[in-house]
Symmetry: C2
């Protein structure tokens, strides 16, 4: 019965070694006491909102039918207790009854201690510099195609380091679609579902010329930059054109530690990005480094060749350019980057919203250079990783 409740709501079972030892009603809250002595105050509407009985929830889709605005303003718990299975059971003033499994309650407990535990338990990114060149996480094409465990390991590495290499990908056009199909659908852009990176005469982006491309993220001109980029090398015979990867999070943390003022500026100053041709006109403005609400690094957004004029108060320009010049200089600092020559059959997969990539200038006269790329958003990577984790019994 407990398990059924949990599965209806969440498809997960929340195990806990802690049991409920007592519950008392006080004002708007039911305060539960745990076997380890922790106390968790549970607001009446929080509890009512999370009732997962089959009238409040649509079992078929595990979606909520009940709307919390339909609870009376004076809703109160008329009774609260712990049943034989150890669930918290609440009888409401309007006659409704709810039951909550201890594992679910502990996993969603809003007391400060429980929330701090959850925040501390959250996976932190593995931040790297030049030394990562010798420890680069590589995976074999055949493994990730055949084995869900290998696929899970690859996606786990992508989520953690933001840069992985897949070897032995067939050297055929669109061969990168097979490993991507193990994850999800593509993020299509104006450059197509799959884009070819080779120099072309009427280039609509510097990427399609042979010039040096400084470290950048792709499509900073979009509100949501593509999440993960897959870049498959079919041919690389031209002189030059080495690839460079930089962990933007490493630069961010270094700025935070070594240059706090410039860090404060680069995480708030509006950077303008645009990309225009005869058919498109993309514009977006956002800081080059974005933090989440907890102040952790969330995203890097930068491509010098796509920057537009900064729209900021005249008196802030000096400070903004000092931070921008420093950030840009750090993207070239050898302590942060990995330089590799791509070989045919290699497919790089990297978090385009964290890891900047660069391409040295090459001479198109000396040989052919042909890469194919495609994008998948972070939502899809995370969804697939969670489903695999669920199936493999890993926490997610």
């Amino acid at each position: 019965m407990t398990t059924e409740l949990e599965i209806v709501q969440d498809w997960r079972v929340f195990a806990t070694e802690h049991s409920l030892s007592a519950v008392e009603l006080s004002g708007d809250e039911a305060i539960v006491t745990w076997s380890d002595g922790r106390k968790t105050p549970l607001n009446r509407f929080f509890l009512r909102d999370n009732c997962t009985c089959s009238t409040c929830y649509l079992p078929l889709t595990r979606e909520q039918l009940f709307e919390i605005t339909d609870a009376p303003a004076d809703l109160a718990a008329a009774s609260a207790g712990i049943d034989a299975e150890g669930n918290l059971v609440v009888g409401w003033s309007d006659g409704h009854k709810s039951s909550y499994a201890p594992g679910w309650l502990r996993s969603h407990a809003p007391d400060a201690e429980s929330r701090a535990e959850r925040h501390a338990a959250r996976a932190r990114p593995f931040i790297w510099g030049r030394e990562y060149a010798d420890a680069l996480q590589s995976f074999d094409y055949a493994d990730i195609m055949a084995d869900d465990g290998a696929l899970w390991a690859w996606l786990s590495a992508l989520r953690s380091s933001g840069l992985t290499l897949v070897r032995n990908v067939p050297v055929e056009e669109e061969a990168l679609l097979a490993p991507i199909s193990r994850i999800s659908h593509l993020r299509e852009t104006n450059f197509g579902r799959v884009f070819d990176v080779k120099s072309k005469p009427r280039a609509d982006s510097a990427a399609y010329t042979s010039v040096n491309l400084p470290p950048h993220t792709d499509l900073p001109t979009r509100e949501l930059q593509p999440g993960v980029q897959f870049l498959h090398c079919l041919k690389n015979e031209a002189v030059g054109g080495e690839s460079v990867f930089v962990d933007g999070f490493a630069i961010g943390e270094a700025m935070r530690a070594e240059h706090p003022d410039e860090f404060a500026t680069i995480t708030t100053a509006p950077m303008a990005f645009w990309n225009r041709d005869d058919r498109t006109d993309y514009r977006w403005t956002a800081p080059a480094i974005a933090l989440n609400v907890e102040g952790d690094l969330d995203e890097v957004r930068f491509a010098n060749f796509l920057r537009g004029p900064i729209d900021a108060p005249a008196e802030r320009m000096g400070e903004i350019y000092a931070a921008l010049r420093l950030f840009q200089a750090m993207t070239r600092d050898p302590r942060f980057f990995i330089e590799r020559r791509l070989s045919s059959g290699d497919m790089w997969a990297f978090d385009n919203r964290r890891v900047m990539h660069a391409r040295r200038e090459f001479d198109p006269q000396t040989g052919e250079r042909h890469l194919q790329g495609a994008y998948v958003d972070r939502d899809e990577i995370n969804s697939r990783w969670r489903v695999l984790s669920r199936q493999l019994g890993e926490p997610c």
Copy 2:
């Protein structure tokens, strides 16, 4: 020469009735004085960064080659003047020379007055309530397919009101793809490139049942909710199933004016959204109403049936649920919504990140109901609108 500079950088011509009357160098700035007396201080790095000469800019792609971090720290304007064409010309301490057209300078001037003018000139959304039912912006399929002016008017209406109706769309499967192809590519999701809205036995979303769907945005479980939803009615013969549209921005502004405390809470409280089935596990947390950096309404994100447990401090739960219950009650307030019965051949196009839609319960036994939907992100709508504006000589 002026025009060429502007086009290389921007594909636009910046006209201005104001000319440069004087320039003086002072510290880090060149301060220009305009024919109307306005003074604009231009930081040395801002000016150097925006040099559009053909060594700083790649004319082919209109992308910047020069990186501002390569300017010497002690860069200074050795000379500044106004040339025969009225351009600001600067000679730099390192020997580089730059020229700036007055139209471009005025349009990007960082002085407070110019920035306030630009902010005031920005288009504001047209916010609507029930009365919009009689003024609904409708367009004819044949017109938007054949005429760029009609297409521009449709996209302009979408950007302004967030809700438009296209009539006389052929009643055939995937007929909605033709008008969408006039704009751009699709935003694919786990529900496919085109999704069919009809009740099905093994529903993986409440949308695919016949139950009442309260006002919601689609896919709040994604970091970026799909921008514009296109919903094409092929058959609507079942009893019930009326469609309801609510301008979330109208609710937001009403909350801001009538309930400032609840507005402050709903724009900051973390709402959890999730959608899980046997193949996917999507989760995202964000406020139900998001503001941009200027405090203007930017996005509405809400679907009661996709909400997960709120992860917030116990002491904030009372305040958060008060705001949530009010917001949810307002989505049902008749002053805000339009109710329509879809007819076959109608295609609704609405901003899914602003306009909430609802569906009344229907009885699948009484007749067939079949809609087809697809998504296009705001970036694509805006890009296409800007290109059309450019071609039609409209400001953008």
